[in-house]
């Protein structure tokens, strides 16, 4: 789905007249649109599908016989999840967390729709770079872009490591 479409619907829902915006206003007394909390909620909504996919792959990689023996050894289903499934999919969960982090780092359309670009509040790097280019400040755009490159590269490297070394 195009990020702007997600952003548009979030904008509607998070509007003080919308159900989430209304709820938030009722609870905190201030609107949620164009705040940091607002873009966090928007990013979570936007990124959850990307977290579920690798986590599901990690869960599916677990030997089903392990779950059977845990049942025979007397574990209840929640205990099996905590003591067998979670510890054996740690790498997958970590990889999924990093992928979502990178995905969120690159979020642009959603943030712009829901957060606007309030300096010190909701102006994220991706939006800041865009605005710098718009106002022909190529120097600061280059600096910000250059700073992001190694960060992304290192995290991708970690993801690669985590997913390659599968526990046997």
């Amino acid at each position: 789905m195009p990020p702007t479409v997600v952003g548009f619907y979030l904008l509607i829902v998070m509007d003080p007249e919308g159900w989430l915006g209304g709820l938030w206003k009722g609870a905190t007394g201030s609107p949620i649109l164009f705040t940091f909390a607002g873009i966090v909620i928007a990013s979570i909504t936007y990124s959850i599908p990307f977290a579920l996919q690798p986590m599901r792959a990690a869960f599916e990689k677990i030997d089903p016989r392990l779950i059977e023996s845990a049942r025979i050894l007397g574990l209840s289903p929640p205990a099996i999840f905590l003591r067998v499934i979670l510890p054996n999919s740690r790498n997958g969960i970590a990889a999924s967390a990093i992928l979502v982090f990178l995905h969120t780092l690159g979020a642009f359309g959603v943030i712009l729709m829901v957060g606007g670009s309030v300096p010190g509040q909701t102006r994220v790097v991706s939006v800041a770079i865009y605005e710098a280019v718009e106002t022909l400040q190529y120097g600061s755009a280059a600096m910000m872009s250059l700073a992001l490159l190694p960060i992304c590269y290192i995290f991708l490297l970690v993801v690669h490591r985590l997913t390659k070394r599968s526990p046997s």
Partner: protein, 239 residues
């Protein structure tokens, strides 16, 4: 406590249909050719599979009654089940695997690990020990939970002959002190005769005593062959 089993389950090539009783404090050896339904029987006893219809009672506890829709899930049966290539928990050390279901009884676990000769390996992960050591750990894990019934499905078949013999001896010694029914699956007649208090030959899903007698005759015939082989050096290479 004894285990009564009366089950029927259609399988792809035949129907598993059994009415048997495994006596308390005895080792019942289930023997039969591969694909006879032995493992299916064990999985039904463990509660991992359900028969089409049947009744199963352990002591005075009904585990399964398809007519009354009674089904006790595996985690409530308090039994232990070890099979060939049993998967240990890869994220836990040998000690923690053995102690997985032992509760607070730390010294029991230690004693079992020593008894099965893997005490010095207890801090290693399962992928850093040999197949025989993993299988020893699996037995420790099973016994440490103090089961009321022990199911062993060809537990030593994937091991080399020496390890297999050593573990078989250890199991035979252990059996007396356990005081619980043990059901042991094998397709090896010699192993069955060595371990069993009672034999349960299963062929194509049914108890078949005649098959057992034929197999025994074959084993006896092979024994005299082996005696001859000692005198005949060329044939002895085969043994």
């Amino acid at each position: 406590m004894n285990l009564q089993i009366r089950i029927r389950k259609p399988l792809p090539h035949f129907e598993l249909s059994l009415d048997v009783n495994c006596p308390a404090e005895a080792m019942t050896v289930v023997i039969g050719p591969s694909g006879a339904g032995k493992t299916t029987l064990m999985r039904i006893i463990a509660g991992l599979d359900k028969p089409a219809e049947g009744f199963m009672q352990f002591g005075d506890e009904v585990w399964l009654d398809t007519k009354l829709r009674v089904f006790v899930p595996p985690q409530k049966r308090r039994l232990a089940y070890v099979f060939q290539d049993y998967p240990l928990f890869p994220h836990l050390s040998i000690h923690d695997n053995a102690a997985f279901a032992a509760g607070a009884k730390k010294d029991v676990v230690q004693e079992l690990l020593e008894r099965f000769g893997i005490g010095q390996l207890q801090d290693r992960k399962p992928d850093a020990v040999s197949g025989g050591e993993r299988q020893r750990c699996a037995i420790c894990q099973a016994l440490a939970r103090e089961p009321r019934l022990l199911l062993l499905d060809e537990p030593f078949s994937a091991l080399d002959i020496f390890t297999r013999r050593a573990l078989r001896d250890e199991l035979r010694n252990l059996k007396e002190g356990l005081g619980i029914p043990v059901i042991y699956v094998t397709h090896d007649v010699n192993e069955a005769l060595y371990l069993a208090d009672g034999l349960l030959p299963i062929v194509e899903g049914r108890v078949d005593r005649e098959w057992m007698q034929r197999s025994l005759a074959r084993v006896n015939a092979a024994k005299s062959e082996r005696a001859k082989a000692v005198r005949d050096p060329r044939l002895s290479l085969a043994y």
